[in-house]
């Protein structure tokens, strides 16, 4: 996870934790799907990926990300980019995500 905006970054990540990957049952932040959060002027830009290319969740997750951030930060423009590079791997799952996966 990378953020160029420490002030708003944590708030964005906390907000995106409301979006749950329905197959795994873990939120997209702890699953390591959110790669980058940046703020330039009034444009909040998010780069995120999916666990596998072609995942049928692509539309759902990008739309949900846009909607939730638009509601949370109504004064900002929101842009969500779905990216495949670097490819997602299980090393990107956070400690909290691993804890949930292992049912601890």
């Amino acid at each position: 996870m990378e953020t160029q905006t420490p002030d708003i970054g944590n708030e964005v990540f906390e907000t995106l934790k409301y979006i749950i990957d329905p197959e795994v049952g873990i939120n997209i932040v702890d699953l390591g799907l959110v790669y980058k959060v940046s703020l330039a002027d009034d444009l909040l830009e998010i780069e995120l990926t999916l666990t596998t290319p072609g995942c049928p969740m692509s539309g759902t997750i990008t739309t949900a990300t846009e909607q939730i951030l638009r509601k949370r930060f109504p004064h900002l423009d929101i842009k969500v980019n779905l990216v495949w590079s670097p490819p997602w791997s299980t090393e990107m799952i956070t400690e909290e995500g691993m804890r949930q996966l292992e049912g601890r």
Binding site: E14, T15, L16, K17, Y18, I19, I20, P22, E23, V24, G25, N27, E47, T49, L50, T51, T52, P53, G54, C55, P56, M57, S58, G59, T60, I61, T62, T63, A64, T65, Q67, I68, K71, R72, N81, L82, V83, W84, S85, S89, T90, I93, E96, M98, L101, E102, G103
Partner: protein, 435 residues
């Protein structure tokens, strides 16, 4: 960084009828099984067994695979399905053809009705293959999974063509060999060419995905593809033209291919990050275990060793049962609960994600029913093959009863999902998401 495209999922009204028809067919097949316990005492070429087999492979397995594939193909090939309209026509042809074929076989009406059914089914396979080929042509990158799926559709077409020839041969008797000779070819290219290749193509993508693992190199899958197709091509050629005694060698090639696929999955399982294996995946592993039985039996039926004829006939039947009611049915019984809940969930709740507290796909079916479904299935399968092998009708009947219970439990869970309605959802008040 390259950006990705939006979701390629097809419309639910195109996919879901396949699941409904398949569940209904599974119930019908189980009920037919109840009334066919006397059919397992002799040769596999008899009306009741032909009916049960074709309801299983067409109405149950192929129908469900078609529906699931329209949803999964965009995941595997990373592009939209070529034509949803073509898929709807395919569904109509396959459903009508299956019903007519089942009536023809049950009453052994092998004239016009059988020919019409065969034409409808072959037309369905042609349309399906066109849809697969045209979709694959749009795929942004070619993978070994695409090879498996596209080749499987070709083998389906060949299987259907041989079936079509046999349907007309009943009336016009133009084929040079006996009917059973072509039935063996029809069955084996259907089993290994269509079902096995398709399952490997989709399974090698989905199973690691469900386990959250990255098995790495696809070299094993490449060799699996070569071995299975090589074995099938030389088997078909030999069976049609040469009639040598090398069939066990061709079986060994196919078995080696399956072995490599299982090795690939073993690697995937070894590197998995998910440890809470759900009932759907547990049933999938049961199916993979059951695959070992036909892989063993194929050497007995292909070598035609010095076994008594009665025992050999029973082994032939157990061999067929272990493929269609064993491996393939077990896999579908598990994978339905990995695909259907997700499809229903996505269409019902995708607009609510992140704004409302939504249920998860796993909340959309009864886990208790699924657990009992899996238990009754395994009991039914063991009883059925034991009864067939020992030629004991009461044991076969007990197996058929267990299968009927399995089918009813499966169908009630499937229709529960198909009829799912969005409940009143509570909106999120943004605070601590992990709370």
């Amino acid at each position: 960084m390259p950006t990705a495209t939006a979701s390629n999922s097809p419309a639910k009204w195109m996919v879901l009828p396949h699941y409904a028809f398949a569940a209904f067919s599974f119930v019908v097949m189980s009920v037919l099984l109840l009334f066919s316990t006397d059919a397992f005492g002799g040769h596999y070429f008899n009306p009741k067994l032909l009916t049960i087999t074709h309801v299983t492979v067409l109405g149950w397995a192929t129908m469900l695979i078609f529906g699931a594939l329209y949803q999964l193909l965009p995941v595997v090939l990373e592009c939209r399905l070529y034509s949803e309209k073509l898929a709807v026509y395919t569904f109509g042809l396959l459903a009508t053809g299956t019903v007519l074929l089942a009536c023809s076989f049950w009453h052994f009406w092998v004239g016009t009705l059988l020919q019409v059914a065969a034409i409808l089914l072959f037309s369905a396979f042609v349309l399906f293959t066109i849809n697969i080929f045209q979709t694959a042509r749009k795929a942004p990158k070619w993978t070994i999974e695409a090879d498996f799926i596209v080749t499987a559709s070709v083998w389906l077409l060949v299987t259907g063509f041989v079936g079509l020839l046999m349907a007309f041969n009943f009336t016009f008797a133009f084929l040079p060999e006996q009917h059973v000779h072509y039935l063996q070819l029809h069955a084996h290219i259907g089993m290994a060419g269509w079902f096995l290749l398709l399952i490997i193509g989709v399974g090698s993508k989905l199973i690691p995905m469900f386990l959250l693992s990255h098995p790495g190199s696809t070299k094993k899958l490449n060799w699996a593809y070569n071995f299975i197709n090589g074995g099938l091509v030389v088997f078909s050629f030999d069976h049609l033209f040469l009639h040598t005694g090398f069939v066990p060698f061709y079986a060994a090639l196919v078995t080696a291919g399956v072995g490599l696929f299982l090795w690939y999955l073993y690697d995937a399982n070894h590197t998995k990050q998910r440890h809470d294996i759900d009932l759907g995946m547990k049933q999938t592993f049961v199916a993979l275990g059951l695959l070992l039985l036909p892989l063993l039996l194929v050497f007995i039926v292909s070598s035609k060793g010095a076994l008594p004829q009665d025992l050999l006939s029973s082994i032939y039947l157990v061999y067929g049962i272990s493929v269609f009611l064993g491996f393939i049915s077990a896999l579908i019984l598990g994978q339905t609960f990995k695909t259907l809940p997700f499809i229903i969930w996505m269409h019902a709740y995708e607009d609510y994600v992140g704004r409302f507290k939504t249920p998860l796909p796993k909340d959309m079916y009864s886990h208790t029913l699924l657990r009992w479904q899996n238990i009754f299935y395994l009991a039914g399968f063991i009883l059925l093959i034991t009864g067939v092998l020992l030629r004991m009708q009461p044991v076969i009947l007990a197996g058929a009863l267990c299968f009927t219970v399995t089918a009813l439990l499966y169908a009630s869970n499937v229709f529960r999902m198909l009829l799912h309605k969005v409940q009143d959802l509570k909106p999120f008040t943004y605070g601590n998401a992990n709370a």
